[in-house]
Every structure is written in C-alpha cells, then in structure tokens.
Symmetry: C2
Subunit: 388 residues, 2 copies
Amino acid sequence: MKITDIREARVSIASEIANAYIDFSKMDVSVVAIHTDVVRHGQPVVGYGFNSNGRYAQSGLLRERFIPRLREAPASAIVDASGENLDPFRIWNVLMTNEKPGGHGERSVAVGVLDMAVWDIVAKVADLPLASLLAERFGDGSTDAQVSVYAAGGYYYPESGIAGLRAEMQDYLALGYTATKMKIGGAPLAQDIERIEAAIEVVGDPACVAVDANGRFNSAQTTAYAQALAPLGLRWFEEAGDPLDYAIQNQLAQTYPGPTATGENLFSHQDVRNLMRYAGMRADRDILQMDPVLSYGLVEYLRMLDVLREHGFSARNCIPHGGHQFALQIAAGLKLGGNESYPRVFAPFGGFADSTPITQGHVRLPEQPGIGFEDKAALMDVLRARLT
Amino acid sequence: MKITDIREARVSIASEIANAYIDFSKMDVSVVAIHTDVVRHGQPVVGYGFNSNGRYAQSGLLRERFIPRLREAPASAIVDASGENLDPFRIWNVLMTNEKPGGHGERSVAVGVLDMAVWDIVAKVADLPLASLLAERFGDGSTDAQVSVYAAGGYYYPESGIAGLRAEMQDYLALGYTATKMKIGGAPLAQDIERIEAAIEVVGDPACVAVDANGRFNSAQTTAYAQALAPLGLRWFEEAGDPLDYAIQNQLAQTYPGPTATGENLFSHQDVRNLMRYAGMRADRDILQMDPVLSYGLVEYLRMLDVLREHGFSARNCIPHGGHQFALQIAAGLKLGGNESYPRVFAPFGGFADSTPITQGHVRLPEQPGIGFEDKAALMDVLRARLT
C-alpha cells in the first residue's frame, strides 16, 4: 500500500474559557488527512488526525519538517511486514529522523497529529475499531465496552460567581456525567473552598469532584491548599505546581493523603520517567494524565505505559488529557482508568460519537472501523470542508 | 519608542556534517529583523536575531503566534520605565502570553530568536556593546576583554578515517584554536580511543581535547566509556546519555573523575533545576552548556544562572552551545567560562566579528554597539538580502 496524499489545515477552536494560566480565545488546532490507495467498503481509506486543545496548531512544523519527511519516505519504509498496512512505529522513526534528543514540545504535537491519522488508517485497513485493534496487538484481546468519563470545567464566573459554577455543574449532570473537575487557584483559598463545597453539593459526592490548579502554586500555596483540601475527600488534586517541578509534586504526595494527578504537560517518556523517579507518585491512588496526541502520539504513549509498568503503575492509573475519540479508543483498548471530557467547548473536536451519548458517567465505543470520526457529523463536516 | 516593523525569513545552513544523532543536510534557521523608530548615528535602530544550529527554523511558530503577539502589544507594554528603550523582560511576558507551562522545545527557539533581536536593539539604543550593557545591568560593571573559545568538531571520516580527523584538528590549530572537541560513540570503543589518542597527539594536551557522545549511550556504554576515558585526562566528557536522563548523568558523575558537560538540550530553567537537583553535577569541575537562544533567549538564560547560583555553581561553570556573537557577548558580559565555536560550518551565522580573529584560543569583543553583527560582512549580506 502507499500514501497518495497528505493535507493539513489550521482550524480555530476559540473559546471564552480560561484556566489559571491562559485564555483560549486564540486557540487553534491542526487537522490532517492522509489518503491511501487501499480500498475498504468501496472507498479509498483516509485517516484523519488533529491535536488536543491547549498547545495550538502546528502548521509550520507540519509543513516545513514532518509532512515532507513522510512524503519523501519510500513506501517500503512505512509499511508493515505484510506490505498491506502502515506501520506506526516505522512511520514514527521516519518522522523523527534528524531530530535531536530533548526539547519535547510543539514538535511532539505535530508528530501526534500525524500519528492519530496513521492509527485511524491502520484500524480502517484492518476493518476494526481502533480499540479492538489495540486490544489485540497490545492487550489481552478484549476491550472495555465502555469508558468512565468526567466533565472537566468548573470555571470562574466573574459576573455570576458561585451561582454560575452551580449552574455549570448541574448542566454536566443533565448531560449524563456523574463526575466533574473544577479550577482552583484563581481566587483566594477561602473562596475556592466555598466554590468546592458548592460543587460537591450539586454533584452529590466529594469523590466525584476533582480540583485542578493548572500548575500555578508555589510550595507554600501547595501546602496551604493540601491542608485545606485534605478533609474534603475529593476525587483528586491536580497539577499543584509547575509540571516539571517534581519536588513540589513530591511534597504534595507526602502531605496530601488523597489522590493527586499530573502529567498532561509532560510530552515524552523521558519526562514521564523523571516523574516516576523523582515525584513520589503513589501507584495505589495517583492519576497520570499524559495526552497521547500532544506527546508524539500513541507510539510514544505506549513507551510511557512501559515506563509506568517498570515503576509499579498500571494502565488503570491513566486518565488521559484530550477529551476526544482517539483518547477514548486508547482508553478502551488499553484498559486505562478513564478519559477526560470537555463538555460544550472545543467543538467539534472534543466529545465522542453521535451514537454514543454520555450515560451515567460512561460512554460506549462506536462500532465502525477506525477511530470513529465518521460517526460524528459536525467533525466530519469540518474535516471535509477544510481538507478537500 | 516603538517597533515599526518585524520581518522573518528562513535560511538554510545545510552542512555535510553529522553528529551521533542527526545529519545537518536539511538544517535551517530563522532570521528576524525588528525595526524601531529610535535613531542612532543617523539611522533608525534595527535589531537582528537568528537561532543557533540544531533545532531548525521556526517560521511557523514565529508567524502564527510570536510575531503577532509582539506586533499587537501596545508600546506601553514593551518599553522600560524611561520609555526610551525596549524592556526584554516585559517583551518576554508578552511573547509567552497564553502559553501553557511545560513543553519546552521549538517555541523556546522562536522566542529566543526574537529575544536576540531585542537585546541587539537595547544595546544599540544604549550605544553600548551588549557585553558592556550586560556587565552594567547584571554584573560587576566590567566585562571579560576576551573569551576562551574551543573548536567543536572532530567528525567521523568514513573515507579518510583517523587521517581525516588529524587534518581537521591541525586545521583548528592553524585557525588559532588551542582547544577542540570531538565526537565519540559513532564507532566501537577501541576505535574511538585510537581517534582520541590521535587528536591528543595533534592538539598536544589531553586537557585541551573534549569528547561528546551527543546523548547516545545507555547505562552500560556510559560505564564502559567512563572507565576507558578516565585515565586520559580529557577536557570533558559531554552528554553521555539522553539529555533528560538525570540518572545516567548522575552515574557518570559518580564514576568518571574528570569534568563532565551537559545542558545544550535543556531549554528552560525548570529543566536546568532538575539537572541541578538530580544529576549529581559537581560545581568544582562540571560544565553547563545551555544555549541562550534555543532556550527562550537571554531572559530565560538569566533565570538559569539564578538556578545555578542557588545550587552552588557560578557563571564560570557555563560554556554555552551556539557558537555565535550573541553567546560571545553574553560570555564576556556575564563572565561565563567560555564559548563554543564551530569552525567552517553554519556560516555565516557561526563565528565572530571580522575584526576579531581567534588568537591563542581566545576571541576579543568588537567595539561597536549591539551584538556586533555589523562587523561581520557575510552575515549582514544575508540578513539584508533576506529581510528587506
């Protein structure tokens, strides 16, 4: 088989939301389509990819370095031993040719976008949902029939305050979610505690409410929040300090008895290995949120899972950042601990298939081959409009 | 004052060389010119920037994110308190607006290119060589009159073998260098030892020959090389393992008595802090090679120097990657330990002013205001041709 065309475009996912670090009013993503000469169900197989929110489109890197490398690679360098399907691992090596070690950002996103499209093709050529293909190749052969998802949001409302937060949490419950996550650190501690208590009251169970500081706390703030949050019994306390400050994460793990979560801003297995070595993460409770797109794609995510296993963690410790169908397929196929979701933002890239609504905090996997984009009409409209 | 124009272009620095990880046949850099309305010596002040070799041009990120942010910033957000010069720290904050923490690569290069042009302007507006400006603002007021430089090269010669390496080392001595660096890890250990012995013979002193594995060794290879190299008394042993593998660097520091060197692939003060915390670096001998352009510019480099001081290191431990006039000005102004140089490659971006040849392993600082690009005719030809 061979690749017959690669197309790329930049699409806005601007949103009015803000986290503790950035606002999303200029956020965009790269979308790609990789066309092949393999025919399934009467049509040439086309794979689609895009990046998760938060790190911007990578049109420049894709057009200047990564797409040319893939275009220039001989067919023999990118197919598997059968010659009848693409080999994502060999393609990864092609993409990373002449890239120096270290410096894991931006290019990790560009490679991840292409990697998503490649896995979409591999599953479509095999005529399997991606989750089933992953379970066969890397798991025990069976997939999770449904994946636990939680609604990430819990924004600050300068105008409506806590009433706005309550309304947002009620909305998530009405959408079928049972667990949520909310921002902290954008207000004084006492005010954040009031907000958290309001959210718990709406959601009904502190074990269903996680909090996220988005990496803004220093050591003293981390301690103050750890002490104040400990009695609440929250689902988890996410990204207290800078994502590369393993000492502050270690301090949190030693002073906060509940689960902690981090990893969405670590984009290589080397960074994850440092987290395992130095941050005092606890395999019996802590959550790892690496994003399989932002961090060089599923090929690198599999390496991260190997690092975790070497340190006594399992795939169930992982609830990836991303909130899209690719992360969902990976969660079901590799039996991760769940998946993030961002209701009502980042459309049409966020969210899952049209045929699989959120039900009691879970989402089923669609049945068609590939990642399932064809079962998400609004997304296919954008992909077709921008990539043809 | 205000910025009146910002221009960017992508320029090839293709070279036939290769290190242990990549070849440089498609290497390129971004060049920028920032125009201002301040007049000095009868001309509006223009600052120039470009990135160090090894990490490619960043045209996409510059054009899609960083140049627009600088263009859209009000003049009041980018000037200092006097209103008569740019403020590199405020500009850095403008550039990094809406950028998430972590993921330090590529964008760190884009920001570094702009940061270089900003410091060129700041020194030209102050009518001082950059080194003098830095010494006044951040040092004891005095600069190093000359900076120790070494010739990085020592390539593998598939055709001419050790004779080719000897000829290269002889060439460096003829150019005025007294210290050199050579690649290791691209051949079996015994063969590398022969190469190193040949280089020492030409250069005349093992303390003037450093070796660089470019991050390719695993733990066992690191130990094997450490044991074999220890008796030789080399200048330093650079980047044994992956740049983010602090455990392997720690192992090297504990088993290799001579100086080690690393840091050219760490692009943030957070990564450097991890190196200080976990890699067992020794302040009395080890060398830190962070690149002030690839890692978000001099603004971030100053933060790195703060981190080093907190861990008992001094600026003299630093010999930056880069090989250009910007790194040289920083080395003289902040009294670093020296500067890297890449003779005969990466022209016209590598190397120093036309009026300051290498003499007995040192290079003097040119006297004109700014970074000194105007005293390097071949570079100004390219900048003028590509940016007007």
